[in-house]
Symmetry: C2
Subunit: 239 residues, 2 copies
C-alpha cells in the first residue's frame, strides 16, 4: 500500500520534494501568514497519501530554510521572515572555498552603501539612537575586540534595519556569520591602537551622518570604511 498520489508535479524526484511543494502551495493557496498553523503531520500523511516519515522530512526541510517553525507538541506554523538559512549557505561557500572573503566584502559594500543612504533618509529617531549607541559602545570597549566586533555587527544590522527594507536587513544578516569568522583578522592587522581607533571613529562618522539625515555623507563614510577594511584583509594575506 503506497499508491502514488500527491496531487501533481513529481518534477523533482522523491516523495519528499513533492510533499514540500504541496506544503508551500498549501501556504500560498490558503493565504497563510506568519504564525498561522499548518495541518498536523498525521493529517498531511492522509492527505498526501505518504508515510509520516516523508511528511516529517518535508517539514524538517522547510524548517531548515526557516519557512516554518516547529516545536514539540505543537503543530508547525508559518515562520516570520528569517534568512539565517542563507547565512549557512554563505558560510558553507566560504569554508569550501567556493567564495572568497573579499568577494563577500564586495557584496557587502555594494549593499551597505545603499542601506546607509536609505537609513539616513528613513531612520526613525529611535533607530538613529540605536546606531549611534553601537558606535559609542565600540569606542568604549575598544580594548576588548570580541565586544567591539559584536557591536560592529549590530551596528551594520541596525543600519540595515533602519533602511526599512527587510530584504536588505535579511542579506546583511546573512553575512554576519562570515563576518564573525574574519573580523578579528582585520582587527589585528590594524597595527597601532591609533588605527583601531580611527576605524571606530569611522563608524561614529557614519552614525552622525545618519543622524543628520545626510545620505551622501553617510555613503561616503561607509565606502571609506569598507575600502579600509578590505585593505586590512588584503594586508593580512586574505585573497
Amino acid at each position: 500500500m503506497q499508491g502514488r498520489s500527491l496531487s501533481q508535479e513529481d518534477a523533482s524526484p522523491g516523495l519528499v520534494s513533492a510533499a514540500i511543494q504541496a506544503i508551500t502551495q498549501h501556504i500560498r493557496t490558503e493565504g497563510l501568514g506568519p504564525g498561522d498553523l499548518l495541518p498536523s503531520e498525521a493529517d498531511m500523511t492522509r492527505r498526501l497519501n505518504v508515510s509520516r516519515t516523508v511528511v516529517r522530512e518535508a517539514l524538517r526541510s522547510l524548517s531548515a530554510m526557516r519557512l516554518i517553525d516547529m516545536s514539540a507538541g505543537r503543530r508547525a506554523s508559518v515562520a516570520k521572515l528569517d534568512i539565517s538559512a542563507m547565512s549557512m549557505v554563505i558560510e558553507h561557500g566560504v569554508t569550501t572555498e567556493q567564495i572568497s572573503v573579499q568577494q563577500v566584502y564586495d557584496v557587502r559594500r555594494t549593499i551597505e552603501m545603499r542601506t546607509v543612504a536609505l537609513a539616513a533618509l528613513r531612520r526613525t529617531d529611535a533607530e538613529a539612537a540605536e546606531i549611534a549607541d553601537r558606535a559609542r559602545l565600540m569606542r568604549e570597549n575598544c580594548k576588548k575586540p570580541e565586544i567591539v566586533m559584536e557591536h560592529d555587527i549590530a551596528f551594520h544590522e541596525a543600519i540595515a534595519k533602519a533602511s526599512h527594507n527587510p530584504v536588505f536587513a535579511l542579506i546583511v544578516n546573512a553575512f554576519s556569520g562570515v563576518t564573525r569568522r574574519t573580523w578579528v583578522i582585520g582587527w589585528r592587522t590594524r597595527a597601532s591602537e591609533a588605527e583601531q581607533l580611527k576605524m571606530i571613529e569611522g563608524h561614529q562618522e557614519i552614525a552622525r551622518a545618519i543622524g543628520a539625515g545626510d545620505p551622501r555623507r553617510a555613503a561616503e563614510h561607509m565606502a571609506e570604511h569598507f575600502d579600509k577594511s578590505v585593505k586590512a584583509l588584503i594586508d593580512a594575506g586574505i585573497a
Copy 2:
C-alpha cells in the same frame, strides 16, 4: 539505549539540530570541498549515537539548503554552491506579504547596478556574447511574453555571472523566482507594443555597453531599466 552524546552544544533543542551542527563541522574540519562524500547514514548513526531517523532529517535539512546533494544508493556529497534555497525564502516572504515586490526591486536595482558595472569590466568575450544573445532573443521573440521573460531572467543572470563574483550571481538567482511571478504584470502594463520594444532595446543598450567595456554607461542603462520597471509595477497597482 539512547545515551546523549553528540559531542557538544545542544544549544538549539533537538537532536536533529545537533546532528546538523556535527555534520557541517565535519565538513569544515575535514576540509571537504564540493563533490566530496560524507559518511554513510549508518556511520553517522553510530558516531553520533542517534537513530537513523535523526540523521536522515539532518541530512535532509542540509539538502534543503543545498549544502549537500543526496541521491538514492549513493552517499551524500558536499554540494556546489547553490542558493535556490534563498529563492524559496524570498518567495515565501513575498507570498506571506512580509516583503513587497517593490522592495525586492530596490534590492535588485542596488545589486545589479554593481553587477553590470563589474561585468563591463571583467566579462570574457564569451560572456559578452551570451549577454548580447539574450537581448537579441528577447527582441526576436517579442510577441511571446513567456519566452521574453525567460531570456530576460537569463540576461540578468548572465550579467551577474560575468561579474565574476559568485555571491552576486547567487543573490540575483535568488530573485529569479519572484521575478517569474511578477514579470508578466510589468509587461502587460507597458500598453503599447512600442513601449515593450523600448524596454527590450534598453536591454540591448546594456549589452552593448558591457561589450564595449563601459561600466558607467552600462550602469546608467541598468538604472534606467529598473526605474522604468518599477514605474510599470506601480502603475499596475503593486505597492
